[in-house]
């Protein structure tokens, strides 16, 4: 359950920020060298980059890392990226990156990187948007917001966990749906611009969320929302309106 430090200041407000998920307190302070071993195309705009990190101490699904690229003149660029892979991927982690227009880091990954290249990583980071596999999880993502949620889905499968897990993902169209081939019966996809024949086109709506909240597991759902700020605002509002307690909605907004 959520950790409550023995002597933590509790503000006199209706506490609505979910607490910390206990994560190992190993320091994530060190930069480590990561070697690119494989590149997999996911959609026209997104690809998965597999990295060998021999010193990786493991992570919880949902956590992220900091990644740094350094130019010959010493100029460095660092970004935060969610980890896509499950924790049990010994010595390897995967990142799935959108090719951001004019993005100096994602641009390098999508146009220059090849197996054998090295980058630096630091992590895992944050004990907030993490899922230890110990509580029913309701996952809502859009676009590349599905990335940390997929780490949770993969973990759930790899460990054959009995705890309920449901995912609702939004993509512009079937060809833009990251991990489409991997999604199973736990997932419902919503398409906002174009959809396969017979599937309605439209934004994630109350009708998508209601059935998930109708099947309440014991002690309820822990909800995880990830995507752009616009999506996060919309999806978190849908959850609140459908009765999900506000203090059990964890949000990761991609800046």
């Amino acid at each position: 359950m959520t950790e409550t430090p023995a002597k933590a200041f509790t503000p006199p407000t209706r506490f609505a920020v979910p607490g910390r998920i206990p994560v190992a307190d190993q320091t994530a302070a060190l930069w480590q060298t990561a070697t690119l071993t494989e590149i997999r195309r996911e959609t026209p705009h997104a690809a998965t980059f597999r990295l060998a990190v021999p010193g990786w101490t493991g992570h919880l699904p949902g956590q992220h890392l900091m990644l740094r690229l350094t130019a010959a003149d010493g100029y460095a660029a660092q970004r935060h990226y969610s980890i896509a892979s499950a924790p049990d991927d010994s010595g390897h982690i995967e990142l799935t990156l959108d090719h951001v227009p004019d993005g100096e880091v994602s641009g390098w990954f999508h146009t220059v990187a090849r197996p054998g290249d090295t980058v630096e990583v630091r992590g895992p980071l944050s004990g907030f948007f993490a899922w230890a596999g110990d509580r029913p999880a309701l996952l809502l993502g859009a676009g590349s917001g599905v990335v940390p949620l997929m780490s949770m889905v993969r973990h759930h499968r790899a460990r054959d966990l009995a705890v309920p897990l449901r995912m609702l993902v939004s993509a512009r169209g079937p060809e833009e749906l990251i991990y489409a081939r991997e999604l199973g019966t736990e997932t419902t996809a919503v398409f906002t611009r174009s959809a396969p024949t017979g599937v309605p086109v439209g934004r994630m709506a109350a009708a998508h969320v209601a059935p998930l909240l109708a099947e309440q597991p014991p002690n309820g759902w822990e909800a995880y929302v990830c995507g752009s700020n616009g999506f996060a605002e919309h999806a978190s509002r849908l959850l609140v309106e459908a009765g999900q307690p506000v203090e059990r909605i964890r949000i990761e907004r991609f800046g």
Partner: protein, 201 residues
Amino acid sequence: MNVTRGFTGRPRVDNPGLPPGQYDARDDWPVLSAEVTPDLAPADWSFRIDGLVERPHTWDWDAARALPGSSYEGDIHCVTGWSKFGVRFGGVSLDAFFHVVRPHGSATHAIAYSHTGYTANLPLADLVGGRAWIAWEYDGRPLAPEHGGPARLLVPHLYFWKSAKWIAGITLLDHDEPGFWERNGYHERGNPWEEQRYSGD
């Protein structure tokens, strides 16, 4: 130095205002709150200072707005890497609030808390001397809810997670206690110029 093959990066801009590891977000202002944006009307907003003070006090919206106005024009820096230059916030200096409550000499640290329950810890020294505000305007307009409106704490010389959105109060203590992100692995002070991002930096 671990040079990345084929990485050149953006054109170099010699910007002395850019702390280490940061980039200029230009017109973007990313939102990174971890909780649901509260539906908080100015009439329902209040701000309290208590703890190690002589006269704990709560201000409602009108009382806070009646204090002498003060603005911040300058830069802000987010731990996720973006910085924004030349932003304009309007509000009231925290000094005006502290003048009313009179902190005890024993007060060394503060916990700022939001109407959502979010918390951030700060040394008291970072909140006084014209370096911190309660802000309700951005660029001359009311602060948007997703950016902390009706009012947020503004401590621009520290990483922006310290500038608690939907600010509800500040409690003064005689010791340091971690807040929300500090319990989640982030640095206790968060000085961008020292690149104090995570615990141990």
